[in-house]
């Protein structure tokens, strides 16, 4: 377990993607089969055990420690697995050699419920604190180190010099510990392939539209759709099963059993926007957010936050790859497919007809409905190409809302920004003349502006709380954001979507910054329609 524990430890503290990839590559290069495969499966969430409930771990540790000292320790550390791993009293002589990761995996598959507590205690006795932590996280199903399955595939692709899309295709045909996959990557075997298992295909992405670009584009060449404020998903359905993938290739099927059920029996690969829709209206993004990152979903959540897919592209019709076809042909096929299959929990994202860019600009400016972020422009002849090719697709977001807010707190960033105060909490005035925080922005500024803000913050600090500085309430920031939503998780009662620093308003006195009432007026999900 120790090499695996070391890997976990490094991954957990390494925020940079490049560092995570380097750590994964080192693991792939240095650990033998089947340990490396089990390790990759465990960190990317493909291998989850629920052999132990927290209650069992607590009971085991209670037999071995003073309850008062355990209580103080738990209060101090804050995490049960970590407290137990640190406080566990190692016997003077371990009961046997420390188990390896493959031994743990094998034993978990065969052990009976009655034997498990004694086995676990023996394991904990023979491991050191960091390996105990890894073991407890593994058996309670909670290894979370910010590594997605996609990142594992990218690391494999980089390590073996293979196209990551080829790994995506082979992936569904192997299972942990991926022996056939490694055999293929190392030239010892054929590429694992399985015709019908759902496979993630990297989606086609759009570039932001600069309005100056429009002059060179012929409106007749482009189709427009609304840009929905949900989650881009790829829905795969076929004889081998159904799956829902996020834009990054994360398998999110388990969190959306309602949508997965609707896909069953179909045969296609579809591109669309996952939304919560109630009474025909798209709910604010925050409602969809509540359904994310769940391993199981309560029936109440399913009822109150019903999800669906708004379709806008077709990658496979049946077993036929149609990605090479021009957009117009794919669209015609998609429309015909929807008519024929009339699948529940899916509808078509309509095309927005227009004749000139001016007309489209007016439509965009008028769209203030919740759930619409702006427009998508797609070239009528564009094939479906993975990645972000320049030219065929554009996203044209609606103009952001803008407020003038006062900088209240600043926090250090991470990674390359760790020496800069780069996360800014800003607030607006209440009617009582008090500043309330309404959001946090950590992008939008240039490097030069960041350096300026960093210097300003250091020179105007009034208090420090660890990595956070409270500053004089005298600097106005123009904050742009895409939407304002009511929120009971924020003291101000309002949450902003994608807030960013538009400008530094050194010209504006703080007292003239905006008021909370002005921000609340922009809220789109007011329930009191009256």
């Amino acid at each position: 377990m120790t090499p695996f524990a070391d890997l976990l430890e490094r991954l957990v503290f390494s925020p940079a993607r490049s560092a995570k990839i380097a750590l994964l590559r080192d693991w792939i290069a240095t650990r033998p089969d089947p340990e490396r495969g089990w390790g990759l499966a465990a960190i990317s969430g493909e291998l989850a055990f629920s052999a132990a409930k927290p209650g069992l771990i607590r009971a085991l540790v209670a037999e071995r420690t003073d309850p008062v000292l355990f209580g103080w320790s738990y209060d101090y550390v804050g995490d049960l697995a970590e407290t137990v791993s640190l406080i566990w009293p190692s016997p003077a002589t371990p009961p046997g050699p420390a188990p390896t990761l493959p031994e743990v995996v094998a034993a978990l598959g065969g052990v009976s419920r009655a034997e498990f507590p004694a086995l676990l205690a023996r394991w904990l006795d023979s491991l050191d604190a960091s390996a105990r932590f890894a073991l407890i996280k593994l058996i309670t199903g909670g290894v979370r180190v910010g590594v997605s399955a996609r990142l594992v595939k990218v690391a494999l692709a980089e390590h073996y010099g293979v196209d990551v899309n080829a790994i995506e295709e082979a992936w569904p045909a192997t299972a942990p510990p991926y022996l056939a996959l490694f055999a293929w990557l190392e030239g010892r075997g054929p590429m694992p392939l399985s015709a019908d298992r759902p496979v993630f295909r990297p989606p086609m992405l759009a570039n932001p539209l600069e309005e100056a670009d429009l002059a060179d584009l012929d409106p007749a060449d482009y189709r427009a759709e609304w840009k929905w404020d949900g989650i881009r998903v790829q829905a795969c359905a076929g004889p081998g099963g159904v799956a829902l993938f996020s834009r990054a290739g994360e398998d999110i099927t388990a969190a959306f059993p309602d949508v997965a059920e609707a896909l069953r029996g179909l045969h296609a690969v579809l591109d669309g926007e996952l939304l919560v829709v109630r009474d025909g209206r798209v709910a604010p993004f925050s409602e969809l957010q509540q359904r994310l990152n769940r391993k199981s979903v309560s029936s109440r959540l399913l009822r109150d936050h019903p999800a669906m897919i708004r379709l806008y592209d077709l990658l496979y019709e049946g077993a036929e790859d149609v990605r090479h076809l021009p957009f117009d042909e794919r669209r015609a096929r998609l429309e015909a497919w929807v008519r024929r299959a009339s699948p529940p929990r899916m509808d078509l994202s309509p095309l927005v007809p227009f004749r000139s860019w001016d007309e489209l600009a007016a439509l965009r400016a008028a769209a203030r409905e919740a759930g619409i972020e702006g427009l998508m422009l797609k070239h009528r002849a564009s094939p479906y190409v993975p990645g972000r090719p320049k030219g065929p697709w554009f996203k044209w977001k609606r103009d952001p809302f803008v407020i003038d807010a006062v900088l209240m707190y600043a926090q250090r960033g991470h990674g390359k920004r760790s020496s800069y105060y780069s996360d800014y909490t800003f607030g607006v005035w209440t009617d009582e003349g008090e500043l309330v925080p309404v959001g946090k922005a950590y992008f939008g500024f240039t490097d030069a502006e960041l350096a300026w803000l960093d210097r300003w913050i250091r020179n105007h600090t009034v208090a420090r709380f660890g990595p956070v500085r409270e500053v004089e309430k005298s600097l106005v920031l123009e904050i742009a954001f895409d939407a304002a939503q009511l929120s009971n998780r924020h003291r101000s009662g309002v949450a902003l979507r994608f807030p960013r620093v538009n400008r530094i308003r050194t010209d504006k006195p703080a007292a003239e910054a905006d008021r909370l009432a002005q921000v609340l007026a922009l809220v789109e999900n007011r329930r009191d329609a009256a």
């Binding site: 380097a22 008062v68 000292l69 355990f70 101090y76 550390v77 995490d79 020496s419 990595p467």
Partner: protein, 351 residues
């Protein structure tokens, strides 16, 4: 009838006071007569009249506080030698914490009191080794007095650092370490592990390195990080005070891996909240097992706890029939790990 230590050893606003010898031990403010266990700033304050300490501690104090501020008069007392002050016999023994750090044995009218100061029972390459001293009353620190603090072997942590250097050969590895004690120990451990490349130091570390060198410690090739150009720091090891590793000073480094050497790094949330990428659990303090073992080996029937997590240690000692008392001395833990991560200087440290 021997007098109970409570009748001649007391806590005053200035700190722990020995009445018959008329001196304070590690007082928190300037006093006429002070006995100093070691040169960390929360134990060695400026402006005392007379200072009694080991020669190493006097040299370190003088270097840090300046001539004349580390006691108007200084009296050195080497380890193992005794001094009679108004009938109180004072002997200093190695505490294993930093160069010159001492445990204090006070003997008066047949009663033996040991004040550990900050201590570390594991042998260290840069200071004389700690040994427990039999006594009637033990006055101990309790910085890491929770059973979650069991320090791993420092050599293992150094091996993790060296593995990381091999894994990220282009990145500067910057290790936060306190200027007095931790930095020197880290360098000695690295040299002991066979790392013989130049080690680059933040400018604030050199004055104390010179004192260690004057007492015969060799650290190999040390160079100022400030003078090195950015490409020379590619893949290099840099040691700096904890306050500098993520601040403006660190911008000169090449895509740094930020490491921090401290006993607090045992707790993940502490490492995370500091933004540390490579936490190294290396402590100059006794861990939980060592605090308990030291109390037991001293044979003391009573233990006073100066600072740290008194309640847990006192609870554990009570289970063994040892009476504990919390002194709650103020002003401790402002330097070195004693203060915990919250007390780490968040601001700039002059290069």
């Amino acid at each position: 009838m021997t007098p109970h230590p409570e009748t001649w050893l007391s806590v005053r606003p200035e700190g722990l006071y020995c009445e018959p010898a008329d001196l304070f031990i590690d007082p928190a403010r300037a006093v006429p007569r002070a006995l100093i266990t070691h040169a960390h700033s929360d134990h060695a304050r400026p402006g005392h009249g007379a200072v009694l300490a080991t020669p190493e501690t006097l040299a370190l104090m003088t270097r840090r506080l300046g001539e004349g501020r580390a006691g108007l008069t200084q009296q050195p007392l080497a380890y193992g030698e005794s001094l009679d002050v108004n009938g109180v016999r004072i002997t200093l023994f190695p505490a294993g914490h930093v160069l010159g750090s001492a445990q204090v044995l006070l003997e008066w009218r047949g009663v033996r009191v040991v004040i550990t100061g900050d201590y570390c029972p594991r042998p260290q390459p840069t200071c004389a080794p700690f040994a427990p001293i039999p006594c009637d009353l033990l006055v101990t620190e309790a910085t890491f007095a929770l059973p979650v603090f069991r320090h791993p072997l420092a050599e293992g942590e150094i091996a993790r650092l060296l593995r990381s250097l091999a894994l990220f050969p282009d990145r500067t590895h910057v290790v936060g370490a306190y200027a007095l004690g931790k930095a020197q120990r880290l360098i000695a451990l690295l040299r002991g592990a066979g790392y013989d490349a130049p080690i680059f130091l933040h400018g604030a570390l050199f004055p104390l390195i010179e004192v260690y060198r004057a007492f015969g410690h060799d650290f190999g090739d040390l160079r100022p990080a400030t003078a090195a150009d950015k490409s020379a720091l590619r893949g290099a090891l840099v040691i700096a005070p904890p306050g500098a590793i993520q601040d403006r000073w660190a911008r000169r480094l090449h895509d740094p891996v930020v490491a921090l050497a401290s006993g607090w790094m045992r707790v993940r949330q502490r490492a995370k909240s500091r933004g540390v990428e490579l936490p190294l659990v290396i402590s100059d303090h006794a861990d939980w097992d060592e605090l308990n073992a030291t109390a037991e080996l001293s044979g003391a029937r009573e233990v006073w706890v100066t600072h740290g997590r008194e309640e847990a240690l006192i609870h554990a000692l009570a289970a063994r029939g040892i009476r504990g008392r919390a002194l709650s001395l103020v002003g401790r833990g402002e330097e070195d790990e004693g203060g915990g991560p919250e007390a780490l200087p968040a601001g700039e440290v002059a290069a």
